[in-house]
């Protein structure tokens, strides 16, 4: 059982961004993708989630046995078990976090079944406590007026509540100070499970000190060009990405 990305090609407008990407994340593992700005990391997350601006021009993504692209709507993919924590989460004015997460959970229930409100709040408060989110946040509108750190915590809260089978965390460390980084990482680590695969997209090795990956991949120009263990992340941090590109050129 795995999240399997095979020869994925995708473009936005006329510009091809993913150029034959291959990656497999077995359940129970945490993988990291590192890469320079513009290498296509965020695009990968959005394409899997079904963002309407991107067009898939080749390849497939298998969510366990399910063909992701056979599910057209982003909400179908989400309900099938895919979660994306976004780099820039959207503000939804007037919609409280409590109502938003509740609507998302309700959407997963069979028609006619109602979410138990007491149980829901119990569960929500438990996760908020874990992420050290003030309970007053339940009545605040989703991401509206949140600091960068609050937004990221809110993304991880949603992930914890929705309990996905595979989650992609896109630059979850950006905008976090060291304390917030620790809290968010603890939240993510608490989600590690043999029943779940996680893909952490990041620019910096720093995050990977807290969320220690099983495998590190390097993305260059829309492809995974190198994979290794966590020491690869340290090497990238110390030496930058240039040597990766040189190595690829040499191979070519």
């Amino acid at each position: 059982m795995s999240l399997k990305i095979e020869n994925l090609h995708a473009k936005i407008g006329d510009r091809e961004i993913l150029k034959g990407l291959n990656l497999e994340i077995p359940k129970g593992e945490v993988h990291a993708i590192m890469g320079k700005n513009g290498s296509g990391k965020s695009t990968l997350a959005k394409v899997m989630a079904g963002h309407p601006d991107y067009e898939v021009t080749g390849g497939q993504v298998l969510l366990d046995e399910l063909n992701l692209f056979e599910m057209e709507e982003p909400d179908q993919r989400a309900r099938a078990g895919l979660f994306v924590a976004f780099q820039y989460p959207m503000e939804i004015p007037g919609v409280t976090i409590a109502n938003f997460i509740r609507a998302a959970l309700q959407a997963r229930l069979p028609e006619g079944e109602e979410l138990d409100a007491v149980e829901y709040y119990h569960h929500l408060y438990e996760k908020m406590d874990m992420l050290k989110i003030d309970r007053k946040f339940t009545s605040r509108a989703v991401n509206e007026g949140f600091s960068g750190g609050e937004k990221k915590r809110c993304e991880v809260l949603q992930m914890a509540m929705l309990n996905p089978v595979y989650a992609v965390l896109d630059e979850t460390d950006s905008g976090l100070d060291i304390d917030a980084l620790r809290i968010v990482s603890e939240g993510v680590n608490a989600m590690r499970s043999p029943e779940r695969g996680l893909l952490v997209i990041t620019h910096y090795q720093r995050l990977l000190d807290y969320i220690v990956p099983d495998v590190v991949h390097v993305m260059v120009d829309g492809r995974i060009v190198m994979s290794g263990d966590k020491t690869l992340a340290h090497k990238l941090e110390a030496e930058g990405y240039d040597w990766v590109e040189k190595e690829i050129l040499q191979k070519a």
Binding site: A49, G50, A78, M90, G94, V95
Partner: protein, 468 residues
């Protein structure tokens, strides 16, 4: 009596229709004969017969206001409309006495159930007349009068005559003239001095017949220091031809009294809804209109408050949702006529598909006045590129010691927001509903609980139908 279960259920809860036998039918078209028929059935006193006929003359002489309003008004064919339809003029005091064919309509709309749960009194109008009208004994014992307009006219002429037609003169506009000519039904409410009615009084207006015009007339008088909350709901089935609803509502809040008037209308898309609503607030009195306009083909409604006494306060909170093909032309009028009067207008409109929202606001503060304040906020939400919204504020503030502020905004629900919500597993339609509910959320919180739930459900239904 034979009744055919002619059920025609749509996504909209009010869109069903049972056939009903009418005892009284004024027939099609409008003339002095129509008015005589109505007067005879209702046993109107002579002064009302004269009042109606004078109003008919005014109606006939006034042009359609299409120089500023929608030309869709020209599509109302007055000679094809039935102006009076009823099974009798006496409302029942018990649901058991309401004829079965009418009762099941209200049961289906949940009215008797709501009455048991949280209302101090209910009037349920079916086409031209109230089929049911009752208040809880405890409320009646406080001296509160809550009856239909006909009963008010017959049984309480001394109060009725003093205020009837005084807040909204017959010739205020073409449709107030029409209402004055053929009015029937609506509520007459009197709250004695110092009485604070704890639970809301509710009226429910149901149009059941095709080619029909409903012209209820409501008059609420809150005597000194009293308080009342009145709520009205409206529905009609969806017919091929258009239906006309043209009400006149007059409120009088005497010194220190408070009136809150809440409307949640859910007309079907064939209804022309052309309503005149105005309140007169005496010294330190407060009148608040909460107005939710959902459905209808064209709604034109600008609830107003005339602040006649010092420190009087007026407020209009309105939410309008213009679905595909609909036009919500709504707004507010605030006339400051005394010192230290304050008014507040908050208007939120949502336009979907080819729906169109128009806000018209009028605020007047005279030069001789001191310490008056108005705050106006109008926000529009557009859901796709076809939608249209217009704002026409007319603010006349004279005098140096008065203040007025106006804010307007137009926003859109972006594809990014919808995508974000969908990524959490929420369907596109549900995501739209959430965003729309979020947009009106701060206003909805001012509603009584039962009504905010109802409003949310109506918005959800409207959104469901509008997203492919």
């Amino acid at each position: 009596m034979e009744t055919k279960p002619d059920l025609n259920i749509d996504r909209s809860v009010g869109d069903f229709h049972y056939d009903v036998d009418y005892e009284f039918d004024a027939g099609i078209g409008l003339s002095e004969k129509t008015i005589d028929y109505i007067c005879d059935v209702k046993k109107d006193p002579d002064w009302i017969r004269e009042f109606r006929k004078e109003a008919l003359r005014k109606f006939n002489s006034m042009p359609m206001p299409t120089n500023w309003a929608s030309h869709d008004l020209d599509n109302i064919v007055f000679e094809n409309i039935r102006y009076y339809l009823s099974q009798g003029t006496q409302p029942k005091r018990s649901w058991d006495d309401v004829p079965e064919d009418v009762k099941r309509t209200f049961e289906r709309l949940g009215i008797p159930e709501q009455e048991r749960k949280f209302l101090a009194g209910v009037e349920a109008q079916f086409d031209s007349e109230a089929a049911y009208s009752n208040i809880k004994a405890a409320v009646g014992e406080q001296g509160v009068i809550f009856v239909g307009s006909t009963e008010g006219l017959h049984n309480h002429p001394e109060i009725f005559k003093k205020w009837f037609g005084k807040v909204i003169p017959t010739g205020d506009n073409k449709f107030s003239a029409l209402n004055s000519a053929v009015f029937s039904g609506g509520s007459f409410i009197y709250i004695p001095p110092g009485v604070k009615v704890k639970h809301p009084l509710q009226a429910y207006f149901r149009i059941n017949a095709e080619n029909f015009g409903q012209f209820e007339r409501t008059l609420i008088i809150a005597d000194e220091g009293s308080e009342v909350m009145y709520m009205e709901g409206c529905t009609a089935p969806k017919f091929e031809t258009s239906t006309l609803h043209s009400a006149v509502v007059e409120l009088v809040a005497l010194k220190g009294a408070k009136i809150q008037y809440i409307t949640v209308q859910n007309w079907s898309a064939n209804v022309f809804n052309l309503v005149t609503k105005r309140g007169l607030a005496h010294e330190e009195a407060e009148i608040k209109w909460i107005d939710c306009n959902i459905g209808s083909r064209l709604t034109m409604k600008y609830p107003g408050v005339i602040m006649k006494g010092r420190k009087a306060r007026g407020e209009v909170i309105s939410i309008a949702l213009a679905g595909d093909g609909q036009h919500q032309d709504t707004g507010a009028k605030m006339v400051h006529a005394a010192d230290e009067t304050t008014s507040n207008i908050v208007s939120k409109s949502i336009s979907l598909g080819s729906g169109r929202s128009t806000y018209r606001g009028l605020v007047q503060i005279g030069r001789h006045l001191k310490g008056c304040k108005n705050n106006t906020e109008c926000d529009a939400l557009l859901i796709n590129t076809e939608s249209r919204t217009d704002t026409y504020p007319a603010i006349t503030v004279r005098g140096k010691e008065n203040a007025c502020q106006h804010e307007a905004s137009v926003s859109k629900i972006s594809a990014e927001q919808i995508f974000y919500m969908q990524q959490r597993g929420i369907s596109e339609a549900a995501a739209m509903s959430l965003a729309v509910n979020g947009f009106v959320n701060d206003l909805v919180q001012q509603f009584p609980m039962e009504y905010s739930v109802e409003l949310k459900r109506l918005i959800d239904l409207e959104m469901e139908g509008s997203v492919g």
